[in-house]
């Protein structure tokens, strides 16, 4: 396997984003879920955007996962994702707000209770 340092760094991030550092929308979090929209036309997309589309076609992915697969920095990925949302290629879904998530203490107690029972 090629070491990662040999693969990276050929195409620099400013070329990927065309010099932009600010995403067109500020809605992306690491856990924001993105998925491919229906019928997006891939013509005219940069190779990185195509790869994002290819990743997202398989189902929803979090931004963090897209970053991990693309191997480009988070903030750069957000710029790309912002573009793709603007062009209607992908849909985003915010993560479930933390207020609705179960308390970790309760989960622990459930676990303890289950262990006690079994």
């Amino acid at each position: 396997m090629t070491p990662r340092s040999a693969k990276r760094g050929l195409v620099r991030p400013y070329v990927i984003t065309d010099g932009r550092a600010h995403p067109t929308r500020n809605t992306f979090d690491l856990v924001t879920l993105v998925s491919a929209a229906q019928g997006g036309d891939l013509a005219g997309l940069s190779p990185e955007k195509r790869r994002v589309m290819a990743l997202c076609r398989g189902g929803s992915l979090s931004v963090a996962e897209v970053v991990g697969h693309l191997q480009i920095p988070v903030s750069v990925t957000k710029v790309l994702l912002g573009d793709l949302v603007d062009s209607g290629h992908i849909l985003t879904r915010s993560p479930i707000p933390s207020a609705e998530l179960p308390d970790i203490k309760i989960l622990q107690e459930v676990l303890d209770g289950l262990r006690a029972r079994l």
Binding site: G59, A64, L114
Partner: protein, 491 residues
């Protein structure tokens, strides 16, 4: 007797006078001859003086210039001196001068090149190091403002690195930096990364070949020099068009600019440099030195690609064509599957919210050489493949054993070490429809969002009720009923 004396005196005097006359005449003749000789010699000396002056003032400077380009060295001033020992002497002087200048120049060239090379290599190393640091910073900071600054630094650093690299190649060094075989598009975009006006470059690709790893860096450098020339010699509001086209036995990179173009003699000079045959004299590159073509020539000669700039672009400027023979090309390889096992842990922590990702567990399972481990990284690469039918194979390993496991259950399997392994979340409709079209999974997302919310809510309520059940310690029946009961009552 005394009468004879005057006669005798007369005769003596006559004889003396005769002798004097004869002597005078002879003397005169000798003087005339000598005068003539002296005149000739004087002429000769004057001629040699003039010749020496001519040597110092005209011929040696001309010879000096001829060593740096102009080929004409004037001959002797006085043709009659030709063939004389003096002329031979002068010729020897000229020869010695030429030879010593040549030697001195070569020595200076070698030492200048080696000094430049070592210092440029140091700079190149620093630039690479800095690029690594910048890359790390780009990954560490998730702030658009920081990123904006980093992008600028990165851009400047890349140009800086390219300059250092170009000079060290010119001085006989290798381009450095090992690269993996990369798609041609990425190679061209890599070249774009290293020039000032990268935003004006538009790449149109119709090819899907990759460049072999040893040729990546030289081609990046050569294309970067061409792109830099193109962007530098055209208006800032024009674009530089790059087309990648298949050709016979290779691929052509066509770079068109809408600039001023090249003059006839510039094209001639460029062609000489691009041929890369003769060694480049760094002192002949002008001031400021223009080493673009020279660097390209060296690289082209060394790696076996061809560059020409003799065509006019349809936009009015220069059309530069880089022809890459098949020997430098390879099939484009799908790097996505390879990239998945190589992926680093995600920098930010989604872990508290989500179960561990598969690619995190895969390296953990790697040391154990069990047969189950071999299959562990497999599903993810399949899922990550860009081609359209990929979602279907991705669904196979996880969901096929029980396609009817219900939309609520996230398919969970275990690694060889018994750690839970999370599958890529599938669209819920996929379980209903085992062979979806690639575009279809996106459709039911809206519906599954509410469902997911309901599921999460039910889960939360379930845990709460579970806790209350545990604290009650009276409920010994199955907890699902009570969960539903609680859930319904709370809903």
């Amino acid at each position: 007797m005394t009468r004879d004396i005057p006669e005798a005196v007369f005769w003596c005097l006559l004889a003396v006078a005769l002798a004097v006359v004869v002597l005078l005449i002879r003397e005169r003749r000798i003087t005339a001859r000598l005068r003539g000789k002296v005149k000739v010699l004087e002429d000769d000396v004057r001629a040699r003086d003039a010749e020496v002056r001519h040597l110092a003032a005209v011929r040696l400077p001309a010879l000096m210039e001829s060593l740096t380009g102009r080929p004409v060295v004037p001959g002797l001033l006085h043709g009659r001196l030709a063939g004389s020992a003096f002329a031979t002497g002068l010729h020897t002087v000229l020869d010695l001068f030429a030879r010593s200048t040549e030697t001195a120049r070569e020595r200076a060239d070698v030492s200048a090149k080696s000094a430049l090379k070592s210092s440029m290599r140091a700079l190149q190393g620093l630039a690479n190091e800095q690029q690594l640091a910048i890359s790390e910073m780009q990954e560490r900071h998730d702030d658009p403002y920081v990123l904006a600054d980093l992008l600028e630094i990165d851009h400047t650093n890349s140009q800086f690195g390219r300059r250092a690299q170009a000079i060290s190649v010119l001085c006989g060094s290798w381009p450095g930096r090992q690269r993996a075989a990369s798609p041609l598009v990425d190679v061209v975009r890599g070249a774009t990364s290293r020039i000032r006006d990268y935003r004006r470059v538009q790449v149109h690709s119709q090819v899907d070949v990759a460049v072999t790893s040893r040729a990546v860096e030289p081609i990046v450098l050569a294309v970067a020099e061409l792109l830099d020339n193109a962007a530098r010699h055209s208006q800032p509001n024009t674009s530089v068009q790059v087309n990648l086209q298949h050709a016979h036995n290779g691929v052509a990179i066509v770079i068109d600019d809408a600039g001023v173009g090249l003059l006839e003699q510039e094209i001639h000079r460029a062609e000489q440099l691009l041929a890369g045959q003769q060694s480049v004299d760094i002192q002949k590159l002008g001031d400021p030195p223009q080493f673009g073509f020279a660097v390209i020539g060296i690289l082209a000669d060394r790696y076996g690609f061809r560059v020409s700039v003799d065509t006019q672009s349809p936009y009015g400027g220069v059309r530069a064509v880089v022809f890459l023979p098949t020997a430098l090309l390879t099939r484009v390889q799908d790097d996505t599957p390879r990239s998945v096992p190589a992926a680093r842990p995600v920098p930010a922590p989604p872990a508290p919210i989500r179960p561990p990702l598969t690619r995190r567990t895969a390296p953990a399972a790697a040391p154990a050489p069990e047969p189950a481990q071999a299959s562990a990284p497999a599903p993810e690469p399949a899922a990550a493949q860009p081609p359209a039918p990929a979602p279907q194979p991705a669904a196979q390993p996880g969901t096929q054993p029980d396609p009817a496991s219900g939309p609520a259950a996230e398919p969970m399997t275990a690694t060889a070490l018994g750690l839970p392994k999370r599958r890529r979340r599938q669209p819920l409709a996929e379980n209903v429809n085992p062979a979806p079209e690639p575009a279809e999974p996106a459709a039911p997302q809206g519906r599954s969002a509410s469902e997911a919310a309901a599921i999460m809510g039910a889960f939360a309520r379930g845990t709460r009720s579970g806790r209350s059940c545990a604290s009650d310690a009276t409920d010994s029946t199955d907890s699902t009923d009570s969960t539903d009961l609680e859930g319904n009552s709370q809903a």
